[in-house]
């Protein structure tokens, strides 16, 4: 659950019947494509039973990281464990995966497609068909049960694939950009489904570049940029990476009290904006009162996760561009 700087505490070796503390772990993962390091020495640990978000701008390495953790591709360096197993595919029955690039057989009927995906993960086909019909009925897609995928809308096909991801009741669900391509209503439904699965004790790991979903859903997040984890922690801890913003309005526009304002203060719409000083707001308030500034209004705004993400990912991208000016060409 840590980025690339602090060391991971060693994960306990699970007894065969015991559930590991971490559903997914990766240590020192490196994956290169040609000369491009898509994953560049990542350490990650996803606690079991949590909703965990991997956030990052496009091309940050999120998909490669997920594919590496799931065993779809092997890392060039590093180790990984999935539900305590070093060979990820051995735990395939316990895992559901929705890839970023959606894929279904166009001629398959909706319920067959769901049952087939379950069968791939060990669910008997007969049982899968029964569950698939029930899922589609419950979701209000009863009319599409026997329709071939090619006749479904993109959103419906995506729902079918999502059901195929969870039909076998996995312990770990990995969703790569699950909200992309969904309308607002279906995005909300998907969020509800993720919460429902988490309530049942399922670990959810999803990647996104839309911060709002992560902000609403995730207990922990990792911000990835340039193939490295730039931040790992709770969304609150991410917000704490940025100092709160102070918005101050004074009745008097100038005076000796202005010398007390922090150096990063800017004027905007008749207000003074600056980051909350390390020593707190009280010394400044005292100076303003002594200087007769006439405080009209004062608000302290805590930064959102989006601000934290932009700051962390943006700074990381800028840092990377300075350090590796040719990496973008290689990508």
């Amino acid at each position: 659950m840590i980025g690339d700087t602090p060391a991971l505490s060693p994960a306990p070796v699970p007894a065969p019947s015991a559930r590991p503390a971490y559903a997914l772990e990766g240590h020192g993962l490196v994956k290169t494509f040609g000369s491009f390091r898509a994953v560049d020495g990542i350490d990650i640990a996803v606690p079991a039973g949590t909703i965990y978000g991997v956030l990052g701008p496009n091309g940050a390495g999120k998909t490669t990281l997920l594919r590496t953790l799931l065993g779809i591709i092997d890392p060039d360096e590093g180790t990984r464990t999935l539900l305590g197993e070093a060979q990820p595919l051995r735990m395939a029955r316990q895992v559901g995966y929705l890839p970023e690039e959606r894929g279904l057989y166009p001629s398959m009927k909706a319920f067959e497609a769901i049952a087939f995906m379950g069968a791939l993960r060990g669910l008997p086909l007969k049982e899968g068909r029964v569950r698939a019909r029930a899922m589609l009925e419950d979701y209000g897609m009863g009319g599409s049960i026997d329709k071939p995928i090619r006749q479904l809308s993109k959103g419906m096909a995506q729902t079918v694939q999502l059901f195929g991801t969870i039909i076998h009741e996995p312990r770990l669900i990995v969703l790569d950009e699950p909200f992309s391509g969904l309308d607002a209503i279906n995005q909300e439904k998907l969020e509800a489904l993720i919460r429902e699965q988490a309530r049942q004790g399922v670990t959810i790991l999803f990647s996104t570049h839309v911060i709002a979903h992560a902000d609403r859903l995730c207990e922990r997040i990792a911000i990835v940029a340039g193939g490295r984890i730039r931040f790992e922690g709770t969304p609150g801890e991410a917000r704490d990476q940025l100092r709160s913003q102070v918005r101050l309005r004074t009745r008097v526009s100038d005076g000796a009290w202005r010398r007390a304002l922090p150096a990063d203060t800017v004027a905007e719409d008749g207000a003074w904006l600056f980051a909350l000083p390390d020593e707190g707001i009280e010394p400044l308030l005292r100076a303003l009162l002594d200087g007769q500034a006439g405080i009209e209004s004062l608000s302290i705004e805590r930064p959102g996760l989006h601000d934290a993400f932009v700051a962390i990912a943006g700074a990381a991208a800028a840092q990377q561009m300075q350090a590796e000016p040719t990496s973008e060409e290689a990508a």
Binding site: L70, I73, A92, P99, G103, Y105, M108, A119, L120, R121
Partner: protein, 396 residues
């Protein structure tokens, strides 16, 4: 291994039903029957053509007595040598110049016999004379000896079997089995080449690769296509057998292959399966590297040529039983099924087939494994040097 087979069966079942339950499969089944129907139609035409008497006609411009003697000799010899053995004879008017007579537009003879029986003169084109000279000499000699020529009676001594004839018949069975197996393989195995393109273009490969080992995907696809081939073969074989029963008049028994018909047919099925999976696994491995249908089509030609080479190699071997070439054809995995089915027709030993089947099976596994590793390396962009992972368990 159990999990690998389970996953392979899931893939196989999906592929098999997707193909067999599609409308195009009916066309696939009926396709090969079309040439058979055309063959029957042209066969009937051929029969009519072959029933037309195409023997050369020799004009007889001899005296009436010589002509009569020649015709009687022709009849006697035809009784013993068969209808088609000698040229037909037709009396023509005597002419001082047979050359002129042959040049006339209404001339229906290819050569004219003039002179006498003692000193016959045959006029015609050089190549016709080359063919007819011996026959005319025989006929003239028989006509001259009309009264004294007595045919010797040949005593018949019948045997149930002749080793020479049996060897010939078994060679024929071996050749036929090879050709049938080859055509079935070339017709059916080529389809595997494009088998993974659907998964790649529909992005399903990601879902499959995340859930099951790629070995299982390859194996499942091979199993599905093999099962589909057996459906086709059962249909075509059934149709061919029905036609055979309808047309067979009961005369003449089929020669028996060296291992007997039941075992021969069993081996034929097994060797077809091996030939199919050997080539199929190779095709699957090659086709999996192709990104588009166009690339697959481009690969088709060199692969077909390769198949032809293998077939020619095996065909050469069938005529040289026990030679180094035949042994090589039996050992080389891709020609082995074809060479071994020919061997089953001619040699009754069973153990070489058990060895060959194990050998071929091992190569199927090896080719699948190499194909999988190359697929992981070049398509999934995963893994390092593929040969280092060749014998690791197929878990991911």
């Amino acid at each position: 291994m159990r999990e690998l087979l389970r996953a392979a069966l899931v893939i196989a079942r999906r592929d098999f039903t997707a193909v067999v339950l599609s409308r195009t499969f009916i066309l696939f089944l009926l396709g090969p029957l079309l040439p058979i129907l055309i063959g029957f139609a042209f066969g009937g035409l051929g029969d009519r053509i072959s029933s037309t008497d195409l023997r050369p006609v020799v004009g007889i411009a001899l005296s009436a007595r010589d002509s009569g003697a020649l015709e009687r000799a022709h009849d006697r010899l035809t009784q013993r040598m068969g209808d088609q053995a000698l040229p037909r004879l037709r009396r023509v008017a005597s002419s001082p110049s047979p050359r002129v007579q042959l040049a006339r537009p209404d001339s229906e003879v290819v050569a004219i016999l003039s002179g006498t029986l003692v000193r016959p003169v045959l006029t015609g084109k050089a190549e016709d004379l080359d063919k007819l000279q011996g026959d005319v000499s025989l006929l003239s000699t028989a006509a001259l000896a009309e009264r004294t020529l007595q045919f010797v009676t040949v005593e018949r001594q019948e045997v149930a079997t002749s080793l020479g004839a049996q060897a010939q018949a078994r060679l024929l069975i071996g050749r036929v089995a090879q050709v049938v197996m080859f055509f079935l393989t070339i017709l059916l195995a080529g389809m595997i080449l494009s088998n993974l393109v659907e998964e790649k273009t529909n992005k399903i490969i990601e879902i499959l690769a995340a859930a099951v080992p790629i070995d299982a995907i390859f194996l499942g696809k091979l199993m599905a296509m093999l099962a589909m081939s057996f459906v086709g073969i059962a249909f075509w074989g059934g149709a061919a057998f029905a036609i055979f029963l309808a047309l067979h008049d009961g005369s003449g028994a089929l020669p028996t292959p060296a291992v007997g018909w039941p075992l021969f047919l069993t081996l034929a099925v097994l060797y077809f399966a091996m030939a199919y999976t050997l080539l199929g696994s190779l095709f699957l491995g090659i086709g999996a590297q192709a990104a588009t249908v166009r690339e697959v089509q481009t690969l088709n030609m060199p692969i077909t040529m390769g198949q032809m080479l293998i077939f020619f190699f095996a065909s050469y071997a069938v005529d040289h039983m026990g030679s180094a070439a035949e042994l090589a054809a039996c050992i080389f995995p891709f020609s082995s099924p074809f060479a071994m089915i020919a061997r089953a027709a001619q040699d009754g030993a069973i153990w070489p087939h058990l060895v060959a089947l194990v050998w071929q099976g091992a190569f199927v596994a090896l080719i699948i494994r190499v194909g999988v590793l190359l697929f992981r390396r070049h398509v999934m962009q995963s893994g390092g040097r593929w040969w280092k992972r060749l014998f690791r368990p197929a878990t991911g």
